[in-house]
Symmetry: C2
Subunit: 430 residues, 2 copies
Amino acid sequence: MNARGTPKDNGGSPALEAAIAALARDARAAALRLATTPTEAKRAALKAAAASLRRNATNVLDANARDVAAAGCNDISGAMLDRLVLDQKRLDAMIAGLEEVAALPDPVGRVLESWTRPNGLRIERVAVPIGVIGIIYESRPNVTADAGSLCLMAGNAAILRGGSESFESSKAIVACLADGLRAAGLPEAAIQLVPTTDRAAVGALLRLAKDVDLIVPRGGRSLIERVQAESRIPVLAHLDGLCHVYVHAAADLDMAKAVLLNSKMRRTGVCNAAESLLIDRAIVTRAGELIQPLLAAGCEVRGDETFVAADRRVKPAAPIDYDTEFLDAIIAAKVVSGPDEAIAHVNQHGSHHTDSIVTNDDAIAERFLNEVDSGVVLHNASTQFNDGGQFGMGAEIGISTSKLHARGPVGVEQLTTFKYRVRGAGQLRP
Amino acid sequence: MNARGTPKDNGGSPALEAAIAALARDARAAALRLATTPTEAKRAALKAAAASLRRNATNVLDANARDVAAAGCNDISGAMLDRLVLDQKRLDAMIAGLEEVAALPDPVGRVLESWTRPNGLRIERVAVPIGVIGIIYESRPNVTADAGSLCLMAGNAAILRGGSESFESSKAIVACLADGLRAAGLPEAAIQLVPTTDRAAVGALLRLAKDVDLIVPRGGRSLIERVQAESRIPVLAHLDGLCHVYVHAAADLDMAKAVLLNSKMRRTGVCNAAESLLIDRAIVTRAGELIQPLLAAGCEVRGDETFVAADRRVKPAAPIDYDTEFLDAIIAAKVVSGPDEAIAHVNQHGSHHTDSIVTNDDAIAERFLNEVDSGVVLHNASTQFNDGGQFGMGAEIGISTSKLHARGPVGVEQLTTFKYRVRGAGQLRP
């Protein structure tokens, strides 16, 4: 079982509640120290953690093998098993990830704005860590290293709650992160793993609003929705991406075919993959041509009458197809009367994640960029560019679908908040 | 009765649920239009609303008189009655407020950052409205005009839920705001009042996560905590201010006396008023002198043994006093061993709202500014400067105690979020 079932539990023994509360208090104390920890100490901890992970590769892979064996007994799905399994290559990627995060610019302490008031008060808005961040995720053990390291670089204490099926792997990885923290003289409570697979632990964590500042759920829709429903703590959701490609009448058809194919098929199981295609009625005669590369690549197209008439391989779309995140080689296709209908459709049926227009008409493109209410809107580019690395932010914890605090890729900068520092010379308010 | 009791209700008839859902859908449609409404139209609406309020002063005051009469029958407290009553002066202030908001710079469309990727993608982070904001407040009818106008200027649709005791007043004020919207050709659904005093309406509103993006509760602690507990929608809380003045050993004592007096006594019922005084053991012989101005101004001092010994008017403090937001002419006073204990005390007992250090030692001041985990930290200045107007932000909806999205004063800029606009030339992700 994974964390999906967890948040509904309100039970939890007093001992468990107390243990989770103690963990969060330790995290708070660590966070107060991390807030003023110099960049070099954070980097040293991450590099030492990478070295420890390299040294302890066998331990980590053994622990993972125990998880995989237990998962086999529990008959989990092939996709989940694939996410769970670590090999040397995945371990190397995890180690490289730690070193990459260690090389990122420190986001803490950036002066975001500063000004002086007529009374002489000097006001600065400065980036500071959020504090204590709880990350609740499913089976991938690499999230343990990725999330822990990103939180640390941004000066936050992390409380990690992975899926119970990856518990042994996560424990082994966290032990290496703890080595790194110790080597750099930082508190081990900076990165803690919830030390039990008891589901009630998540419910307990979600109630600790005094000592936990933010919850980041990563995983399937049901996990995220339950966390959103149960949490007394603000949630930065990474929800579904129902992304559109809109081919406008003035599009370059070759560009449109390439952007569409890349947006849909580069990877299909990711949140920034296109799930719906809209094309203008004015270019309806090109509908068949537009979807040839998709069909040739093995994508199922579910279309309206126009698309069904254009190619015998197209299946008729049901209304629900325009509201479905397939996460698979399937796309819903529809003719719209023009930009008004396209924009309205995207705002109504999309998930405000990532949407792209293909057109050579810059005025129409600007309308789309301004009127589509999504975290990332693109003109003549693939939806799959919505990614921290592709944006130049470095590693990311995911793509936020929340509208507040951070939209789009969540990297180290997005794991900070701000405070105001005000310097005076005895000013009094009249 | 006011909104306090409301959020616990999960009942609500299907008809009520449907009515609130329809209101939210109308708000969403209005928000999509407001997102691209030119600055001048928003200004025109606010100026026309001010003019309508001036023209309809008698109506509004009559409506308020009905509210006050009903409140009299319901035997509400004197403080609540004071907040409820409108007179020509308060009405004039409301009208001036609308005109002030109309003169603010438009926060929408600001390009916050922009960069070009090696592949030629041009990325812009641009300020956009949040969308639909629900404001839940208590008896002050002026919040209806203040919150509605700030939301509008930031391009948001507002759903206002005032206290039921000010319902008639709010209806009359919203009618004037609607006049303004109509005059500027904007949708009336841009500023809507929940059209019933039924408490179940708030519960229904807090569940509409699809069409409401943010809830801003303004009022007492119980209102805010209940909204936080019940809401499926992100909440920007305006909670308590347990603010400190810390007088360090190297303080200028005259400055300290003045900053302390102003922080505590300028106004006592506000969230940025000081509630606790900390002084260094090194200057313990000056404790009595430091609190003379407070005592002379009629402030009750509840102190530890040192303060009790320093002046016979000082009452012994109970431990709870250091965790109490008095909102009154009372202050808790305590001797600390030095900056370490002072910072630890503030982080432990404060509410992370506003804290000030008085010292001539700049290195110690920097430590305090960096290590105290509060939205606003000050050096040699009154805590009562934590205010949108004093910060130069113009009108504010309140002071956020949330750690995410916005800390400190919430003005029009804080009522926006951002999106990424990405412009390409057919780029595909490798």
